[in-house]
Symmetry: C3
Subunit: 208 residues, 3 copies
């Protein structure tokens, strides 16, 4: 029942991340199966790390429909990009934000199901949401999104807090999901659009 | 019986990847044990990831002869390179291609033994073949071979398809192995030599 | 009894690595939760890999006090850095050296407890000591310390040899630990201070 929700959410998240990897592959002009490799690592990396850490069977090995979703999304994205080769990098960031928001929730939920504490669950949600995109950026030699000042991991953390708060208040699953998704995507896109920046510390600019 | 084949193949693959890591370490002028670290990560990285994903005991922990093969190959490679310091980067690519071809097969076989579907097995073969070299390139801050347009992952995938095809046609193990090795190495070296390039998508070159 | 030693040592090691990650995050001007992500990956990365390889439950999932140590150390480091924004990169290297020395020992010990051979245990100690810092450097796009000529992995290996030697000579735990810590930190800081360099191979400088 609720596991159907999460299966469906995971499939969507996997597809979004696969598209973000394909867009990055296009940006970087990778040819041949390299695009499939980058797309798959992005789509499956975060969830794989989550399952390995929780000592669970890896999701795409036991349920191959995640592989179909990954390869299908890459295939469709490639077709689209061939017809729209001027696609902007903004779509990569958008698709990545939604994928991160979804995987954050799925990671928290799966972690709680294994009986971890809420702190571990929120950490696991961020791991699941962030690592696929981080591996994509490292492989493609981009500055990881996590390193940039655009509320990336902060949005992920706030989405996790929202989910945890609603969950502890016994709000129904669907609203936990909607609330968390909304907060994460809103903060992230807001930061991209209006240039919100966190300011934990700044190096002093050298005096003249 | 057939497990002897694969043990032997794995040892050879480990040694080839260890040499490729050592050559890269030489290229990058790493001193001291850094070379051993890069060589080991290259040699053991792909297979370790495979075993972790399949939830199997990690191969070099339960069978330390893989560690002897790794350290032995690094030691011999270091001796050789000290006498031939002008060794070309081409040998690194050659050794890497053979290692990838071997690990691809070993990964597919080990995955099928665990009862996965063929699609998962081919994905696992590519993971095993590609990740060691990918970690080497990331640590050494090189453009990963997977990102370059030289049929790297494409060769790996075609080698996997060959193995899967022969396997499903009930061809004897030895020919599955020989056929897959031949296709992978032929495509990869052919691409390096004759400049074959796949063309999934190209960004439009800006009009003048 | 001895497990208390190692629990305590691990907590210290985790805190040191968390601080090194935070210092690197400051160096790189990361804002918001990105610092927490880099700090956590540095603190927990090596030990997580060790537990996954040994097929043990991941230490920070079963014992959340490691998460408190990580987040606490990051929090305190952030407070300090805000008041001392001109903190030098030398402190990052110092803190990293101590963290590596501690995790090296913890990795060897945990590996021996699982019944591995001494060669596997030393490899596992290096893995535990080096990988957290390596992931920090890769995410932050720095030249990994392991690649530089400053006795990094060499110090780690010599510390491991010291521990193994003392252990096989039945020296009491406390001296195994003190000896190994001393050798690792001494070699590493000596190399940083006096410029000791290993010389496994050097490319011939082009003749003029």
């Amino acid at each position: 029942m609720t596991s159907d929700y999460f299966h469906f959410l995971s499939l969507i998240g996997v597809a979004f991340f696969a598209i973000s990897g394909t867009l990055m592959g296009h940006e970087k002009n990778i040819g041949g199966f390299g695009v499939v490799v980058v797309g798959s690592v992005t789509a499956l990396g975060g969830g794989t790390l989550r399952d390995v850490l929780l000592n669970q069977p890896v999701f795409w090995i036991t349920q191959p429909d995640y592989l179909y979703a990954t390869y299908g999304a890459i295939f469709i994205a490639v077709i689209f990009i061939r017809h729209l080769p001027d696609v902007s990098n903004y779509y990569m960031l958008l698709v990545d934000a939604i994928g991160m928001a979804i995987f954050n929730i799925v990671g928290i939920e799966k972690s709680l199901l294994e009986g971890t504490t809420m702190l571990v669950a929120i950490t696991m949600g961020m791991t699941t949401g962030i690592f696929g995109g981080l591996m994509r950026d490292v492989i493609c030699r981009e500055v990881p999104l996590v390193m940039r000042d655009e509320l990336y991991s902060t949005a992920c953390f706030c989405g996790g807090l929202t989910y945890a708060g609603f969950f502890l208040l016994n709000v129904s699953y669907i609203w936990c999901i909607v609330g968390s998704l909304f907060i994460t995507v809103f903060l992230r896109l807001g930061a991209l659009h209006w240039g919100w920046q966190p300011n934990i510390f700044r190096k002093r600019t050298p005096r003249k």
